[in-house]
Symmetry: C2
Subunit: 876 residues, 2 copies
């Protein structure tokens, strides 16, 4: 049997969205519900896939089916494409499985030609309408199908208006429209060397192919990557009889939501324009009226529409976003879909619909995009101000939020200005651990290099700061105090705005609005907590972060990066003293200075978490990260430390590595210098004992995590160092404290040999940042550049540092989880890489059967919801 | 049942070497063969393992069994340890499963104390012997068991000799020996605060524990790492009744080989000393006599020994290395083992024994260490240059080969200089086990003292290093940094040459030439080729290397690194021009300059390989590797290229990466710049067509290898670029050429997803260097430093870059081989990392079922033999 590539609307239904796309499936469903939908048919997503498989040609079989279904459409409508007495005009629209609004192309009024236009003029007794429709078609077809620049057509319209001395399109007469058609066609021929196609069937095939092609235009690829949509899905194409909102004053067109998409209020929300075609509403040339005015202008159509809205929302059990057209007083539905909404609205609608008895709490939970919750927790730009602004550059939306302030180029500057009450944006080539305090006081961080897991991105997300990363459009001249984008210079002190949710950068001040969390949030998250089985922990390095995460509902800390405490004030001095030590004795002396500070931090973290579990990872980064890099700073440090400059330079040189990410770090440090692990163990255990003493009502059980293990012998060695020290301290105390020693699984070899490693490890925490790095062989600090080429060439669709690579890295995780449990059935399994806050990755973790995910504090609510959704999906 | 930790010699046999160690198993076997072996028993390797498991204590059960077996030994011998009438004296010697000569410790004459020595003096009527034995025991025990410095005892001996006005140890009288015992014991007490132990059972337990401990001394660990011996094996301990070669002139001791270990000649080879203990022969203080003189001195013992030699060689089907002692005319066998031999000797012996009908060719193949063949392939001195040179001294040709380099006087110096790329000759009075690492890195070893079986000689032969021993013409002034021969001074840093095949030493630099291989080699390798199933290819980047490898028997090239051709003369200019290109056009122009050069190289390589398969890997390293790094060179280059210095600096800055090993390289380059892959394809295919035309008798089928693939989409993209270009060129030619496109498997993800990758790849070549890097997360440029700590702390025993990590990396290889074959049953599988030349890794490759290994040209013969041995082993 031949594969079926075409479906009449009445042949489909809402469950066929994989094949018919969202728009096609919903048009079919509405048709079957008996709603007034103009006749049409859908060309399947499989036809699109086939088109690409056939080297971007529509094969004969598909062409045959299209023409066959065109015949059926003509039969249904009683009109014929290109007919001189009763011509059919159609729209050709894309419709992918997932909604990709505005990403792909649409052509209206197809079927128009020099003859048909006359017939339409006669039939409608409205030549202006007929020629307006024709010129719109020529314009769209030239742009979408032939790739001619839209603006050239606008220029021609302007010329005609100027000649006629008018400014409003509505003042263009039928004759003017006729002239536009002629001039458009002339321009078409001069540019392309051929006449504008007059055969409607040629027009149709051209339009269909253009829609297929638009599946792979740059903005569609970008949108898919941002929204996690596979390129293999393809788009369907809907060919539908035109109905006209621009035939006269009893005609109109509009869009509406069944509830307010901005607030969630249960009240029809929308707007319409009389005597207009859909694009006029979108284009914003005329100001549309709000939907309730339709009651006065077209009462019958309005009543019908209200009835349909109600039916659709009940039917789809979700707020609907609809398009409609009124032709000579009669209502036609052109689209319905679940409406996009703000996070606030999403929560409001979910709660309201539960209260109305319209949906279950499970359905309510599935209704909200986890990622959306982010916007509730961060300040946002005022939407109106944002609409008016034009971005000067766009890069990676590394950490959500909105920031507006004066440009500064160093952490010191940021600290100084902000201490004077000036809001600043920290602009850096890339950030490093020394910048943390400066990042903290900045409204936003903007970096030139680095990806979604670069230092700037990770730290900013951790602290809930707005960050846009990898903005390669910036040409830095920080020494001269300015940067350049597109030839324009931005100086230190100039005000810019940075949108961490979209990645946009603006060369001006944009107002921000704080967002308050409503009661709906608590109620909704309680449903999520009830539903999920995955525990949610947080990655927090400071008592402040820990408190934040606790308030967001974290059930423990999955990752304390101990080294993040090493950079402040006196500590960095002691750390540097340790690093330049030449003997173990010197090193121990320096470590003794760090001990009380580290212990104090741990105490405060235990306090903040109020007895919830805390996993502390031992020193991880290569030691050179703690030393300065500029000659000035190095000379200064030598002076401060009172050591010969050459000695310090020698130390720095000896620590230089070609690939530090695969160098002397992680447990390798503890193996070379066990005294570091001893000091950290002392700090961990003494802190735990002290907090336990103060709070006998809590049960403190430190979890000590050894990083970068690749062989059980490494873990065994460090664990012995830890145990010897820990057992001694505990024995000397009056408390019978339990503690646990586990490891990160972040080296591929550790995942491969997890059965052996589990002999020593009481828990595994998958460090998916490093695991992704090593499994792909992608340095996360360097991959940003070439991954752009990968996206452009459709080799990768997603950033594996943002979304867990389930096939490759995921395979290692599955293997390790299984092997670990075989050796040690009660082993605790978690994940603490950046992926711990990514909903798709969380679903994977749920399905693999991990015990917990750990993510940055601001992602905790997202993770809670994502975990609930994963549980709901897997229970189906 | 209790575990049995002790075995009398008569309870064991040669097949129990895992439990009894090599020495113990062979002593047992000789006992069972009715040969004169002094009574004794063996403490098993499991006791050693238990010792470590019990935290370095000998547990009660083992102690019990030891004393039980001591009783049995006393019963057998009719003597009693510590008895005042008929005292038993024993030796305590280590004996691991694999021979580790000189690595661990030995104690002789145990059982001596202040009372026993008198009894021995009376019984033997030889007080000098008795006190000599006692002072030796005190000396050894203090050193081995208590860790006192040997040289302090030597100093005491020197003081006594000086006082007595003598220079030769033999001139020391009984009284002198007695004085030495007193002074040794005084020194012992002053150092350790306790008296020298008088209870022989205490002595025995101390000695046994010391042998266990010596399993983990630094030199043993180093030796194991070099020789791939697991630390888990442990050593056995042999406790054996002493027989004395130093009781008088009818006593003696010696060592011998059943054939010449240097040439392989079928003639008993060895040396002995009358009135001496074993250590005297090894120490090289007195110069021993060759073994045939024994016939005159001790004819009965000689005849018996000849008979035993013959029996042992037949029994073990291998050349034997034996130790014997003659006590009052009676022969005792103290050891036999398969003798170490030079590569030349190994081949000679293997061929001779096959010809004698003594062994099969399989046995012959198993008899030669693949690694040994190396020494056959290393350069020898240019005969002409050699003729013109005049030796400054001549001594024992202890291990063949030729070495030329700067004089160094210590192992540390050798290591330091060689790590800076300086060739060195290690000149020592005599070597000791601590020197091993220094010997390893030296071009040759030259010793002042010692014979053919001295430490230096034995170890050098083992490692295939050039060695001249016993060069007494040398007057050492190592503290002053020079030595003198014939009044002429040779300083540290002066260049000398050493000929290990003749024993000549030259005071100048002498040119070396590759050695010509004997007929045995061809014959032996033919057996290997017949036996192996694994194909052996080579890694060769130049026509010269290809020719070399072809001559060594390579059956194709598994890896041509195309970039290695990019560095020469004009090429590097064109390559740099390509790198600094700002447009594809500029880049293509630069590539067009590289094309003819690259094509020429490929033609020459095809010619060299005479129709054998050639796998060409596309550009792999990051582009910055082709640019200069010093400011001077950068400025110069900017001038040469006629581009602004700032532009060039900007390019270099833009190419900087934090972890270049995981950066923009491999197929990632071809994805960003497909024009590079197009140029390389053009070069490969045009070269192949041109050579095919010239040589219609060959079938040239280029194998194009895409590096660093981690996802099938990467391979698919580059493969399409390759195919489009290749098919076009082939279509335009008159030849119907086939070609193959495959990939390296060197990214862990590629191994994990090999099933998908095999959809596109016609062959896999495991790049185990990178695969090891990523799987361990060890940068191979940086790991050297911290791996030293790993060895020192017994965390790793081997360098995973030298020996394939079969557990971790090997698991990936197995998974990938299986998955690849499931997708594409006829996929060709090979390995082209450094491990391709490592025998243990080759065995793994054979067992996994790879089709070929590819290694550097000089390792091809090694790989051929290792592959044969793997086949023989796996057929058992």
């Amino acid at each position: 049997m031949k594969k079926k590539f075409t479906y009449l609307f009445r042949e489909g239904n809402e469950n066929m969205r994989e094949l018919l796309g969202g728009k096609g499936a919903n048009l079919a469903e509405m048709s079957n519900l008996g709603m007034p939908v103009p006749y049409g048919f859908t060309i399947t997503t499989e036809a699109c896939t086939q088109y690409y498989e056939d080297g971007e040609t529509i094969n004969e079989e598909i062409q045959k089916q299209i023409f066959e279904y065109l015949d059926k459409l003509e039969e249904q409508s009683g009109k014929k494409l290109g007919d001189t007495s009763n011509p059919l005009l159609v729209s050709v629209r894309s419709g992918a499985r997932a909604s990709m609004p505005g990403m792909m192309d649409t052509i209206l009024n197809l079927g128009m030609n020099d003859v048909v236009v006359e017939t339409v003029a006669t039939m409608t007794e409205n030549p202006r309408f007929a020629y307006d429709s024709y010129r719109r078609f020529v314009q769209m077809y030239s742009d979408v199908v032939m790739g001619l620049n839209k603006s050239r057509f606008e220029k021609i319209i302007d010329e005609v208006k100027e000649k006629r001395g008018i400014t409003d399109d509505l003042d263009l007469t039928a004759e003017d429209m006729k002239e536009l058609v002629v001039r458009f066609k002339e321009f078409y021929k001069s540019e392309l060397g051929t006449d504008f196609p007059q055969d409607p069937k040629d027009q149709l095939m051209g339009a269909i192919e253009a829609v297929f092609r638009s599946w792979n235009n740059d903005r569609a690829i970008y949108y898919r990557r941002m929204n996690n949509i596979p390129s293999s899905w393809g788009t369907a194409v809907n060919v539908q009889m035109m109905v006209f909102g621009n035939m006269g004053n009893d005609c109109g067109t509009g869009v509406a939501f069944t509830r307010n998409p901005s607030t969630g209020e249960k009240k029809l929300y929308g707007e319409f324009l009389m005597n207009a075609q859909g694009e006029d509403v979108v284009a914003g040339i005329r100001t549309p009226q709000t939907i309730d005015h339709l009651k006065e202008v077209a009462p019958q159509a309005y009543d019908k529409f209200i009835e349909i809205c109600d039916t659709l929302e009940k039917h789809y059990r979700n707020m609907q976003d609809m398009e409609f057209t009124i032709e000579k007083g009669q209502l036609f539905m052109l689209q319905t879909r679940n409406g996009k909404r703000t996070a606030q609205a999403a929560l409001q609608i979910a709660c309201d619909m539960v209260d109305e008895g319209a949906i279950t709490t499970d359905e309510a939970l599935m209704m909200v995009e986890p990622q959306q919750l982010d916007s509730l927790l961060h300040p946002m730009f005022d939407p109106k101000a944002l609409k008016a602004a034009k971005p000067i550059a766009s890069a990676l939306p590394a950490s959500p939020g909105a920031g507006c302030g004066e440009i500064v180029f160093s952490a010191e500057e940021a600290i100084e200005k902000s201490s004077n009450g000036i809001k600043v944006i920290l602009v850096r080539l890339e950030t490093s651990p020394e910048d943390i305090e400066g990042m903290h006081v900045s409204e936003a961080i903007l970096t030139v290099r680095g990806g979604m897991t670069s230092h700037a991105a990770v730290v900013a997300r951790g602290m809930g700061a707005c960050c846009v990363a990898g903005c390669s459009a910036i040409e830095m001249h920080e020494d001269q105090g300015y940067f350049v984008i597109d030839g324009k210079q931005y100086n230190r002190g100039d005000v810019i705005s940075v949108d961490g949710s979209t990645g946009n950068v603006y060369g001006e001040e944009i107002k921000t609005v704080p967002v308050s969390i409503s009661g709906n949030f608590e109620r909704f998250m309680a449903w999520a907590d009830q539903r999920r089985t995955l525990m949610i922990r947080t990655n927090a390095d400071t008592p402040r972060d820990a408190k934040q995460a606790y308030n967001f509902g974290a059930e423990g800390i999955g990752l304390v990066r101990t080294e993040h405490m090493f950079f402040e004030g006196d500590r960095i001095k002691a750390v540097r003293e340790m690093i330049v030590s030449k003997t173990e004795d010197q090193r121990r002396k320096a470590l003794a200075k760090i001990l009380p500070m580290q212990q104090g931090d741990f105490e405060n973290i235990y306090e903040a978490m109020q007895g919830l579990p805390v996993t502390i990872r031992y020193l991880d980064p290569p030691l050179h990260e703690f030393l300065p890099t500029s000659s000035y700073d190095i000379a200064q440090l030598a002076k401060d430390m009172n050591i010969p400059l050459d000695d310090l330079k020698a130390v720095i040189a000896s620590l230089h590595e070609f690939n530090p990410m695969m160098g002397h770090r992680g447990c390798r440090l503890a193996i070379s210098y066990p005294e570091i692990a001893e000091m950290q163990t002392t700090a961990v255990i003494q802190a735990a004992l002290s907090v336990q003493t103060k709070h006998p009502e809590w049960t403190i059980q430190p979890e000590i995590m050894i990083p970068l293990v690749g062989d059980v012998a490494e873990l065994r060695y460090v664990k012995n160092v830890v145990k010897e020290m820990a057992d001694k301290i505990i024995a000397e105390s009056s408390i019978d404290m339990k503690y646990h020693v586990g490891t990160m699984i972040e080296i591929p070899r550790a995942a491969l040999l997890a059965d052996e490693i589990a002999q020593e490890a009481e828990f595994f925490s998958f460090g998916t940042n490093d695991l992704t790095q090593m499994t792909f062989g992608f340095s996360r600090d360097d991959a940003g550049g070439f991954l752009q080429d990968y996206y452009a060439k459709n080799i990768f669709e997603q950033d594996p540092f943002a979304h867990l690579d389930q096939k490759g890295v995921g395979k290692l995780i599955k293997m390790a989880a299984k092997a670990g449990r075989e050796t040690r059935p009660d082993i605790k399994l978690g994940i603490c890489g950046e992926h711990g806050g990514d909903p798709a990755s969380i679903e994977f973790c749920h399905n693999v059967g991990l015990n917990y995910v750990s993510c940055s504090p601001f992602r905790v609510p997202i993770a809670r919801l994502a975990a609930a959704q994963a549980a709901i999906k897997s229970s189906k």
